[in-house]
């Protein structure tokens, strides 16, 4: 049987967002730009970062993204996410470890309705023909700096952005013992690039959910322009029950 995550869910919930309610409407986010860096990570730390409901990917790898959203119901914002890829049963899912955002107006709804574990920070994305760069900094100290170099153009059909899972504190289901939300945006890509990956800076100290994440082998970076949404949520899962046994369909009997 594949390994399962060993995250201490009770402890982790202490720093997870409190879900106020599920989103009533999807957010349309047209004209988005996304830079995503993928990297294999050390196995020992990785398995402690995902809950028992999930299997670690083989090999464990993380995706770090920085995105710019020029249009949203709360105005423009930039969002960075650090995720660890795992399996819910056999389905690939990217478990959110930490997000960073540059807008207080967007931070609150993303946390309260979509369960983003989120910190306010300076989040920048720059796209040039020879280099794309995404950074997160707090008080002039760089937390992360991801890059794409030597880009070449791809069809958007080749891209695969894995659906997300967000651990929350919630009374909606599972008796308040924590609930993982499945956040599965739709993307319509208008432009895509693939290039050499570089993690120019990685300073996660101070963020307990990512400081044990040790990048070891860069895989690829992609850059894309797309229309995206933040969808109405359909599925959740118990963080302590594996795959289908712990799944919840919102609006249906639990």
């Amino acid at each position: 049987m594949p390994f399962s995550g060993s995250l201490d869910v009770v402890r982790a919930l202490g720093s997870c967002p409190q879900l106020k309610s599920l989103p009533e409407d999807a957010w349309n986010l047209p004209g988005a730009e996304i830079l995503q860096f993928s990297c294999e990570v050390e196995e020992e730390g990785a398995i402690e970062l995902i809950p028992p409901a999930l299997h670690p990917s083989i090999p464990p790898y993380a995706v770090i993204s920085v995105a710019k959203y020029p249009v949203s119901p709360v105005g423009p914002f930039s969002l960075a996410q650090v995720r660890l890829v795992a399996r819910a049963g056999i389905r690939p899912r990217a478990f959110l470890l930490q997000a960073f955002i540059d807008s207080e107006e967007a931070a609150a709804p993303l946390s309260e309705h979509w369960g983003f574990k989120i910190e306010t920070a300076t989040v920048d994305l720059a796209h040039r023909h020879d280099l794309s760069q995404g950074t997160v900094s707090i008080e002039n100290s760089t937390v992360l700096d991801i890059r794409l170099e030597n880009a070449h153009v791809l069809s958007g059909q080749e891209l695969n952005i894995i659906d997300g899972l967000h651990l929350t504190r919630s009374e909606i289901a599972n008796d308040g013992d924590g609930l993982i939300l499945q956040v599965d945006p739709e993307y319509v890509f208008s432009y895509a690039e693939r290039g050499e990956p570089d993690l120019a800076e990685w300073n996660p100290e101070g963020f307990d959910s990512i400081e044990r994440l040790v990048p070891v082998y860069p895989i690829v970076s992609i850059y894309a322009r797309c229309d995206q949404d933040l969808p109405v949520l359909r599925f959740g899962m118990d963080p302590n029950k594996e795959g289908a046994r712990g799944s919840v369909r919102f609006g249906a009997e639990i």
């Binding site: 090999p59 790898y61 389905r91 791809l154 080749e158 695969n160 693939r194 082998y217 895989i219 690829v220």
Partner: protein, 360 residues
Amino acid sequence: MKFGIFYELSVPRPWDQEAERTVINNALEQVRLADELGFDQVWAVEHHFLEEYSHCSAPELFLTACARETERIHVGHGIVTCVPEFNHPIRIAERAAFLDILSDGRLEFGTGRSATWVELGGFQADLDTTKQSWDEFVHAIPKMWTQERYSHEGRFFSMPSRAVLPKPYQKPHPPMWVACTSPETHIEAGDRGLGSLGVSFNSFADQENRVKEYRHRIQNCNPAGAFVNDQVNAINFLYCHADDETGEKTGLSMARYFNYLAGQLDMAKEVFPTPAYPTAGLLPSLRRQVAAPTERKSVPEGLTVGGPQRLVQVLKQWETTGVDRVTFMLNAAEIIPQNQVLESLQLFADEVMPAFAQER
């Protein structure tokens, strides 16, 4: 209609000292019995790093053991990964020829290019060019076998004139195959005159369409080797039990467990975007099967698990799709006890094979 068997060599944790040896020895015992019972091919995959799912990284060694312990069954080396970071084509040709000699000319030579990130990334392969390297290898290797000396100037390897030795026992060379997971690879197999080694689990209708297209293409093929191999193999699970319900329940458990292990693998395209892998390969269909509601008890279309009469009916349907042979996985991660696997093989040979004896 002919029947073969197929090995991934799945090894469940915990991996104590005996775990892998037990799986390999059990498989060898099954192969010996299959040979006696009239199964005509045994295939072993080449996979690397696939924890629990497949520990079959040196299939040529396993198949050598099979060949030396049997008399009639053909040994299917497949697929050999035709990607330069995995295997140099000279070494592929040498090993395969040696195995053909040691098996007294019973080698079936399968080719492919790998599709998982854990393997391709592990060898730091160039994912964009695996199709091209496969194509170069499948054209070069038969020439290494048939020409006394061979030289090559190519994109993925070059060599001055050398005698690649030994030469295969079969003349001009062993039958060549390619692993087919998508409709595109069936076409590529047909165009190159290669046997179609089905490694995905398709519906009857889907399989029939693929076979039709393959048969059409192979009539006008430009063979990669010295002759055309126009055989089509399909893959399936096998568990045969006198009691239909027991057979279905046990066989389904095996199939689901194997698919669950397969579902843990990241296909190359899921991790590294590239047009070289236009489909995600085998996994989407497996994920659909495993993701089916757990209360579902019915056996999926075409799955060969259950009582002998059911298996005859199902295999007659497979026959109508145009496949020449069905190769079976007999176990997964040892969830079926070895004695039951052997009994299943025996019962299949006693009560199912005779229904297809005229064709064999």
